[in-house]
Subunit: 335 residues, 2 copies
Amino acid sequence: MTSTLPAEVTATRTLVQPALREAVRSLQPAMRRVVSYHLGWTDEHGQPADAGGGKALRPALALLAAQAVKAAPEAALPGAVAVELVHNFSLLHDDVMDGDVERRHRPTVWRLFGTPAAILAGDALLTLAVDVLERAADPVATRCLTAAVQHLITGQSADVDFENRLDVGVGECLDMAAGKTGALMRCAAQVGALLGRGSPVAAGLLAEFGSNLGMAFQLVDDLLGIWGSPEDTGKPVLADLRVRKKSVPVVAALNSGTEYGAALRELYRNPDPPTEEEVHTMAELIERSGALAWTRERAHRYVGEAGTCLDRLAPPEPIHAALRDLTLFVVERDR
Amino acid sequence: MTSTLPAEVTATRTLVQPALREAVRSLQPAMRRVVSYHLGWTDEHGQPADAGGGKALRPALALLAAQAVKAAPEAALPGAVAVELVHNFSLLHDDVMDGDVERRHRPTVWRLFGTPAAILAGDALLTLAVDVLERAADPVATRCLTAAVQHLITGQSADVDFENRLDVGVGECLDMAAGKTGALMRCAAQVGALLGRGSPVAAGLLAEFGSNLGMAFQLVDDLLGIWGSPEDTGKPVLADLRVRKKSVPVVAALNSGTEYGAALRELYRNPDPPTEEEVHTMAELIERSGALAWTRERAHRYVGEAGTCLDRLAPPEPIHAALRDLTLFVVERDR
């Protein structure tokens, strides 16, 4: 297993970071302080820090998509910044909704600055994203972004709704993942192609590529949420099972029609916090039900479909290789 | 005192309501259900209701601004819908942040559907507002809206911040009001003028008009939050004082340099819920400090400045009269 991002992805940070910082500088001081902390640029006292941001896959995807249609990566910069801002808007609000107290090994914004600050900082980032992209003067790109945000909101709404249900189907669970993760990855690639003045066919193929990459990413995330190593993921062992999350492998197991799925349902029905033993039993039941293998196979299938999009698009060879490496990173990563 | 909206304002609802409903129809079902309840169109079970929306001043202002630059009101329709959506986005999120359990005599959305639903519905309305305005294909108008939203967020952030401070100055309190209320009213008038293809000078004068109208509106709102009659406002007597809100009259009294201001400060310092007697004492202290008269005078001054903008603009007579009636309604209303 590798967790090394392709060089082309890490290289895009050199372009994106200054543009992202410039965008955030336009916020009012109170918002800027909270956002800078969230992005890992400052500590809780506003002092410079380097807490490391996220993987910044979405902006990399936008820049690579522009290059795939033979434009300079700079063409997609407003789109790259916009999708990264939207991604962080959703993290800020999701942490409030899910009550998550830690992100990237640090207290979440609502935990440190209060719920109002987290809601307002999220609102400010969403608005800033639109503003940044609007300056690129491509109405189709802006419409693409707002459509992705609505899809993202629908996905998060379904995720919240699933918490109180035991009858979640595999189809609606995959739809939820398509909203929560697929939509913005799709948008990143599509906006990159649009800003790079790619043909509608090329933009469509890149959108499909992004969508499949996003689905593979989410499924692997779900697997890591159960079987990821705590040192790598920064989360406790079997983290998602401790809060009885309805992630894709869990829902696949619940719907497997096997005795293991039925036993898992009983453990998920109990409202009390699960014991250490129960959490390990849950993981074993998911594996025995065939849902672990199914989810892994499904992730590889999305990667295969992403590869088909790439082959049909036939971008310049170094970009083709970078995008293919990105899909391999997504399924093989361990964090 | 009158609380009757000018006929031209109520008439605009006939145009705005269908467009607003069409926009909301584009949301996903889960969001649509929550938003329809919030807007008073349905009850908590999703059954049609007519709980009456808000005053819809902002959309009326947008349509009147288009007419003031001699365009048809329809020209400003996307702007009117967008500002009303942004207004409701901010109400949904503010109710979560302020912990308000009732709005327009009904339970607030977070209270009824939970905090995640209220956050997501607000996010969806903000995104929808951008999308609706984007279709009008006027990038200046869209930029005007995003700037107003950032200003609104800054105002709400200051409002939250004031809760933990006793040293709030009158200047920063008026700045907060300019953000929370002035910015979106300004934007409503400006976007209406822009979509009506008014000259930059006319759009600037209408923006100033909207800004002054918004400030007058907020100051009167603050007075009604203390001295409004419960039957009219739907809030308890002296509502804002019960939660020790730092509204403009309160901050003016605290900074009055009078013995009454000093006594009010002592009552505001106490963390326990105030007694019935204390609440009445607070109101009397604000009045004696001269802050009630000052706030009222200030509201009239904003109305005067709005009138100056109108006179310089010299719109067609019926529109001039309607906009002047609107400013009179704002200072003379009792709810």
